[in-house]
């Protein structure tokens, strides 16, 4: 039997509940490989949010807690304070991280709480049927921007840039894309190492695809992702003040 999935994936709960072609599947696969390579599956606690991320509630071979919307970060902060030996991951979508949960994400960065926050950005609120997210770019049609998003709702939200501004020096903040899975894995591993070795905060935004709500096939999904990458810059976000 060839390995087709990471060891840290719970085989018993596959096929999983994400839609065909969902970027969560690609992200979680690379997260899974990162956990395998760092050999930290057994000491990782995985926190997930509301929205499509909640479909990962029994996805990994790790203790998992599904929280309320936007509350994964403060739960994992409290958890890590009580059990610093565990690797704490807060996994969320664009709503959980940049709307209802933004305050907690920023304060975790502000305090350098040693957790790793991972945010999957597919430019919409997918589980509820495709409403706009803070990350929806100008002109994009969603179910709550039927004529395309306009500036009075804000342009695409630059999360990692904002988070880096408020973080402390030792934080690790980056943006990656599911168009480059190997880089997703390497970056997630680096983020986790920043928690383990430097006892510091890390945050990775993953640009992702949503064929169901974008109403695109595989080809058009990746074309849209390419277009997102023109606006959302990839790579580690460095401290501007240096």
């Amino acid at each position: 039997m060839i390995d087709k999935m990471p060891k840290s994936w719970n085989r018993k709960t596959k096929p999983h509940l994400f839609c065909p072609g969902c970027g969560h599947g690609i992200t979680l696969k690379q997260l899974g490989y990162a956990l395998d390579e760092l050999k930290i599956q057994k000491r990782t606690t995985f926190g997930i949010d509301i929205g499509c991320s909640l479909l990962a509630w029994n996805f990994l071979n790790c203790d998992t807690i599904q929280t309320h919307h936007g509350r994964t970060t403060p739960v994992m902060v409290g958890f890590k304070m009580a059990k610093p030996s565990r690797v704490a991951i807060a996994y969320m979508g664009d709503g959980g991280g940049y709307a209802i949960g933004l305050q907690s994400l920023l304060h975790a960065a502000f305090r350098n709480d040693p957790i790793t926050a991972i945010l999957v950005n597919n430019e919409n609120y997918a589980m509820t049927g495709g409403q706009m997210a803070p990350t929806t770019e100008l002109g994009i049609k969603t179910s709550t921007t039927p004529n395309g998003k306009t500036l009075n709702f804000g342009n695409g939200f630059l999360g990692p840039e904002l988070v880096k501004q408020i973080s402390q020096k030792q934080s690790f903040v980056a943006r990656v894309s599911v168009s480059q899975p190997e880089i997703v894995k390497l970056t997630l591993a680096k983020a986790l190492q920043n928690q383990i070795q430097n006892n510091s905060f890390s945050f990775v935004e993953v640009l992702s695809i949503c064929p169901t709500n974008w109403k695109t096939d595989a080809k058009d999904s990746f074309l849209r992702l390419e277009s997102m990458q023109k606006y959302y810059k990839l790579g580690e976000i460095k401290d501007e003040s240096n």
Partner: protein, 346 residues
């Protein structure tokens, strides 16, 4: 090691000592009057004992979720809040209800709704017992004096971890700020806390979101069954001068203490006080016993709220042929003289 100490304490200070006595290890909180002193007092304790910790969070909601995170990691965690903070805490408390987490909170009631006043009321009974979008499976103790601020806070941890329902101690601004000499026990109640995310080779998966009505309803049924099984063990009350009486005062918290003084000064009138110590689960059997042992003609329900105590009390009394008089003063205190005058009118 039981050491009774007589010391001058405020209700807030007593509560901090109670948390320590109950085995608390970590507190998450956001400053809000009149609960701030509890956070402040706990922070001072942390300076002297490295095994204790705290986090002042960005708001009350985050504080509540921090408590949840620490509980999942097996630590005895708590928060303290009031009024609008209590409102914000309904989000995490609902999650704690769903997952049967031993969430402990000290709620210092103040005038509401909204920002209201910072000092006093008994208006957070419904909120603390039945808030959120659940079934009210929450244990609520109401402290009536400083010794109870200590003892009930301590007890809240053992109750919460034993029965796994979110557990609260209701105080209020007057109790928080008043100081008097009080005798409190220094013993630490031993509480077994366990890892809720178990770190076993078979992972623990905890979720609060279900796809099917049926499986969710089954889970709720189990919770309700546990509640019904345990509620009579959990509920507590005090009967004060309830022998050979024909009238009963029902009051809780600091109003009950004022009622005691009023009753003492009413000489020959055959009136006693039934004081629920747990508002939820309500001490139904104990109240029934008082009614059985006496021929009660009138009940005075006295509270600094609009019908919050009387709503849950009348639920217990609906089939009884007794005259019930509600004496409500939302957000205003009752001195013993006030109570004597109000009862004297009838």
């Amino acid at each position: 090691m039981n050491k009774n100490i007589l010391q001058n304490l405020s209700g807030s200070q007593a509560s901090v000592l109670g948390a320590l006595a109950g085995g608390a290890e970590i507190m998450f909180g956001y400053p809000i009057t009149p609960a701030t002193e509890i956070l402040q007092g706990w922070v001072e304790k942390c300076q002297k004992d490295a095994s204790l910790s705290y986090l002042q969070t960005e708001d009350e909601t985050s504080a509540g979720f921090g408590v949840i995170g620490a509980i999942l990691a097996g630590k005895k965690a708590f928060t303290a809040s009031a009024g609008p903070g209590n409102v914000l805490l309904q989000d995490p408390i609902s999650m704690a209800e769903n997952l049967r987490l031993p969430f402990v909170g000290i709620m210092m009631q103040r005038g509401g709704p909204s920002t209201g006043t910072v000092n006093y009321s008994q208006q957070e009974v419904t909120l603390t017992a039945f808030g959120g979008n659940g079934n009210g499976l929450r244990i609520v103790y109401s402290a009536s004096n400083i010794a109870e601020m200590h003892d009930l806070t301590s007890k809240a941890f053992s109750t919460a971890w034993k029965y796994r329902f979110p557990t609260f101690v209701l105080g209020d601004g007057y109790l928080g700020k008043m100081s008097t000499k009080v005798n409190i026990s220094d013993s630490v109640r031993s509480v077994t806390s366990t890892l809720l995310l178990k770190e076993q080779s078979e992972p623990t998966y905890l979720r609060n979101c279900y796809s099917s009505e049926e499986s969710f309803a089954d889970m709720l049924k189990d919770h309700i069954s546990d509640w019904n099984r345990d509620k009579d063990k959990i509920s507590e009350s005090e009967s004060y001068k309830c022998k050979h009486v024909s009238e009963l005062v029902i009051a809780h918290g600091i109003v009950a203490e004022a009622a005691k003084e009023a009753i003492n000064s009413m000489g020959s009138r055959k009136i006693g006080l039934f004081r629920p110590i747990t508002l939820n689960p309500f001490p139904t059997l104990q109240l029934k016993k008082v009614l059985q042992d006496n021929k009660i003609k009138k009940i005075f329900i006295i509270e600094s709220a609009l019908a919050q105590l009387s709503r849950i009390t009348k639920y217990e009394l609906f089939d009884k042929d007794i005259q019930i008089i509600e004496i409500d003063k939302p957000a205003l205190g009752f001195t013993p003289e006030d109570i004597k005058v109000e009862i004297g009118k009838i």
